[in-house]
């Protein structure tokens, strides 16, 4: 079991989360060529080692997280919210 330290909820089993995918993808502009869009949507680096990826805490706070995890050992180096400002917005609206 991978344990993910959710910045909002604390350390939880990965079965509480849904795997998103590669977090390093940058989508091109709408006017970009078909080739660029194909590259962004279909082609992956598929890193063996540490990669940035997204996880959704779907059975928890439902926040998207950016996780730096090794695809070889499953070790996690860092976890941060995908949208760091979101917490501030939530707190300001209380």
């Amino acid at each position: 079991m991978i344990r993910i330290n959710c910045p909002y909820c604390g350390e939880r089993d990965h079965s509480e989360f849904s795997y998103g995918g590669d977090a390093s993808i940058k989508y091109p502009s709408l006017e970009a060529s078909a080739k660029e869009w194909t590259e962004a949507i279909f082609f992956r680096k598929n890193i063996r080692g540490f990669q940035l990826e997204t996880w959704h805490h779907s059975n928890g706070c439902r926040m998207w997280l950016e996780v730096e995890r090794s695809t070889l050992t499953h070790e996690i180096k860092s976890v941060r919210p995908c949208h760091p400002d979101l917490q501030k917005v939530v707190e300001n609206n209380k």
Binding site: M1, F42, R48, T71, H74
Partner: protein, 421 residues
Amino acid sequence: MTRFNAWNVIKNGLNGQSGWSRQWRDPEPKSNYDVIIVGGGLHGLATAFYLAKNHNIKNVAVLEKGWIGGGNAGRNTTIVRSNYMMPGNHEFYEHSLKLWENLSHELNYNVMFSQRAHVSLFHSPGARDSAARRYNVMRLHGTDAELWDLKTLKKKIPHLNYDDSRFPILGAAVQRRAGNARHDAVAWGYARAADSLGVDILQNCEVTGITRKNGSIESIQTSRGTIKGKKVGFAVAGNTSVLWQMAELGNLPIESHKLQAFVTESIKPLLDQVVVYGVGGAHFYISQSDKGSMVFGGDLDWYKSYAQRGNLPIVQDSAEAAMAILPCLGRIRLLRHWAGVMDMTMDGSFFICKTPISNLYLNAGWNYGGFKASPASGWYFADLIANENPHNYVHNHNLERFEKGINIDERGAGPDPKLHG
């Protein structure tokens, strides 16, 4: 190499089994080959065999970083079927099944292919319609396919859980010619047959570097020295991206995911068919090996990984699925479970194609379906390498299909590799 036949079996039975020779040689790498196949799995070995047999190209090396049969060749649930619908796929897998039917004779090696039927259960009228459509498409293309109603199914497999009110069994889509084979025997059979035609199988020979010159591959550095090849084929599903980037070719429409499988202790004959159970997006398949073990598998682990070990939530999922469909397995004990690394592609279909490098050919992206595809994969990959021209069945199984919008998506799941189970 001593051939297997009745005469030799009797003769060696009388002389203490002393008359058998090595199954395949353990040669030193030569410096030059006509074709180098990287990857000594089932696909690589089959490719080498068909290169020698169909195309008379015998100066071939198969490079394997570990030992043959030690990668995904030994990490599968040994199911063989051809229930595919998309153009290209159904012809390809049907040809593969036909090759399976004669494989033991072809290789002079008993691969223990057992056409015990592949029984795919359905649990709702919608699922029945969908199965009827798929199996009608198969019949129109000359593949055997039938639908069993509940009465037939109960007669054939009486001990399934017919009382489940959440997911009641309505019947099954069946391919009778489908079944199982012995995975090690397939690896050894191809290795032995390829070796006897002159192919060098180089084990413990890991590729460590690739030297390119003027748009082609000049040589390959390995843990057993530098080897030159006029043509090079990659057949290393699971680690394709790593090798691809070693050749400085950039990204691929592939993610590596792991898939678990399970084996229980041996029991008396219980299940004569391969049974597939899929409800609510879950996925479970089970059969009984000739030794009596129940062999089953489920879904991917749902996150990208190169680790050949599985996670516990999927163990639980698979055990729950087993109990849901065959409650009589409740007290059986697991002997082993393992995970294999799959090339999951963006549309769930494979690649047998040319690459941006003129003398490099790619065989990759087998998703869940690599084992059954092995014979046809070797057949058409060898054909591509020998004739430079992709056969009609595989001419769309290339890397350009995504940009052209002709994805071969059997499941219609879209560009997310983990969904193409």
